[in-house]
Symmetry: C2
Subunit: 342 residues, 2 copies
DNA sequence: TGATCATGGTAATGCGAATTATTACTGGGC
DNA sequence: GCCCAGTAATAATTCGCATTACCATGATCA
């Protein structure tokens, strides 16, 4: 097993010192360091001939940088089944990492005794990377806190609330998107709106609900809430003319269950707040919004490189694109005066 | 910026030497090394309290291992579009890497000036990993040769022929699978078979064709060949009762084009040699075989860890699972004496 | 003619952990 | 009292690279 080349080897071949090789390699010319063009040439030639490549580990140790960005997920990045929650994010992450000239490290080794991965187990390897992106709605609070106290550069995609300190994040602006949809519904004459879903728990749910409520209040219309389960009776009983579903999957279930009783959007308009989290087969063209997952991935990496360079705690919400769809129509005649179509 | 903890810090806190901390950490007790239970306890407590974690880079430098496995692909791993060629492989790769307790490095930085990635560019980072898996039918020959001469542990998934030396690989046994399908067709009474496709170029095509030819010869039936383009007339003109398509996509095109002229499998049986490479929408239940992509990924990692440990040049072909499907039926009456159903 | 300076390079040191070689101490045997 | 064996821990070195501090040489100047 031929030991791999070191700068020492190159130095010997070029008849210079290891220092010189390092200097040439890193193109250090400023300040007190000087290398004559001839020497530089000679060293470069040897490097080219041998195809020498610096050991990244040693490099990292010496200068504390790697050009490796880590991605931590709590489940397998490449799921065997399912329509793949992580994928869209990763598309953006990979793109941007490539542009930054970095490599991407997937922390597949982080597996606790149980099923779920942990960032800080007995033998965490986060520090292999210069920083990392956290993926998943259910990022562990302790892990997060530890990342903060250890001052490990990271950006969370999704999770946002404090964990022993402010968390750097990229999120989607669910509140605004939900609000915009409410506004659109009201413009179409709806005066009684129902929010179907928990409206609490993960931040993303709370945000949607808040956006809904704020808009409803601001516009002076009625907003009610039905529990998380998509119970057809409960929803219809509210007397609302439009239903906002927290989860697209629930909307699908609801529509299937209500098929024989009402017609959408004639009798009831349906709006979904974001694309499916749980994979659901459905070809219904819902009115709702698109979570900019890919863009979130990109942005997370951009922010991460910033954090690595200069520190800081960037926090950003990205706008969601509204989907026209066909499940939101003007309110029926019973819903009050019909305004002109917007 | 609080500097991160080092073994030195732990040592100070526990009132011992850095050596002792390292020893405790790695549970080294054999041979000449001895640590009293009390000391060990003390050190462990400090480690627990502080949550100290060894710097992976330093570790790597000292012991020459990383527990990082690299994956090299010539295009983005996470394609924005398409049904994703790499994905199934990666599922297996990730699974197995996780089991091995390693992390996965995606070489996203390897991008030449052009569009296509190169392993050995001016500043290759392959050596970041202990070894790597190469993915893609079109692995660059020079890159391969370089990997061999540089003695970098790797396993190629797919590509197989020499590149200045034998290449360690995991492949799919297309030849056997194609042969098995020929046997099945012949058992169903087919006596004239046509192979539709190039039959050359990438090894995988050549293998399929060879498997087809060998089986045809062995069974003493007629095997003919139609060029790569799925020209309906050309295929029908051969007078064959069953057509073997190198590419599933071509079979789809063919069936669409021939829809009004013949019925499958009544007039002509159709067999596809492997699942689609190019993404094609089709719900035809083709008779053919499944490329064990996920298993190939798994196996590649297994072999890779072997190579890293002990060197060697493992070469393996994995069996493909036959798919019964519904496009292969007994040969029509004009095809000669009908044998008993197998 | 010695002092000053620019030039081109090198020796030495540090990064954090693993490992090898070495030391300090204790108790036993004679 | 001296040597040996056994135990417990440490000092010193190594990994490959980056960086700082330093040294040699020759030219320039007063």
């Amino acid at each position: 097993m031929a030991r791999r080349l070191t700068q020492q080897d190159i130095a010997r071949m070029a008849g210079v010192s290891q220092t010189t090789v390092s200097l040439v390699l890193n193109n250090r010319a400023e300040g007190a360091v000087r290398i004559s063009p001839e020497t530089r040439e000679r060293v470069i030639r040897v490097i080219k001939e041998t195809g020498y490549i610096a050991d990244p580990a040693a490099r990292r140790l010496a200068e504390g940088r790697n050009r490796i960005l880590g991605v931590f997920t709590y489940e397998a990045v490449f799921p065997a089944t399912s329509a793949d929650f992580y994928h869209p994010f990763l598309v953006g992450i990979e793109e941007c990492t490539e542009e930054a000239g970095c490599d991407l490290l997937l922390f597949t080794s982080a597996r606790a005794s149980g099923r779920r991965r942990r960032i800080f187990d007995q033998d965490s390897r986060v520090r292999l990377a210069d920083g990392c992106v956290l993926l998943g709605h259910t990022v562990d609070r302790d892990d997060l806190a530890r990342l903060i106290t250890d001052q490990i550069p990271f950006v969370s995609v999704g999770r946002r609330d404090d964990a022993g300190g402010p968390v750097p994040y990229v999120g989607a602006d669910y509140a605004s998107a939900a609000g915009a949809l409410v506004r659109r519904a009201v413009a179409l004459g709806h005066r009684r709106l129902v929010y179907v879903g928990a409206g609490t728990g993960a931040e993303s749910w709370a945000d949607r609900h808040r956006g809904f409520l704020d808009a409803v209040t601001e516009l002076g219309v009625e907003g009610v809430k039905a529990g998380g389960a998509p119970d057809v009776d409960a929803v219809l009983a509210t007397g609302a003319t439009v239903a906002f579903f927290e989860e697209q999957a629930d909307a699908v279930t609801f529509m299937a269950a209500a098929r024989h009783r009402i017609s959408v959007p004639a009798d009831l308009s349906v709006v979904t707040l974001g694309s499916a989290t749980r994979p659901v087969r459905s070809d219904i063209d819902f009115t709702g919004f698109l979570i900019p997952r890919r863009e979130m991935g990109r942005r997370a990496v951009e922010l991460l490189t910033g954090v690595i360079e200069n520190g800081g705690t960037p926090q950003e919400l990205l706008p969601c694109e509204l989907i026209e769809g066909s499940t939101l129509a003007a309110a029926g005649p019973g819903a009050g005066p019909r305004p002109p179509a917007s």
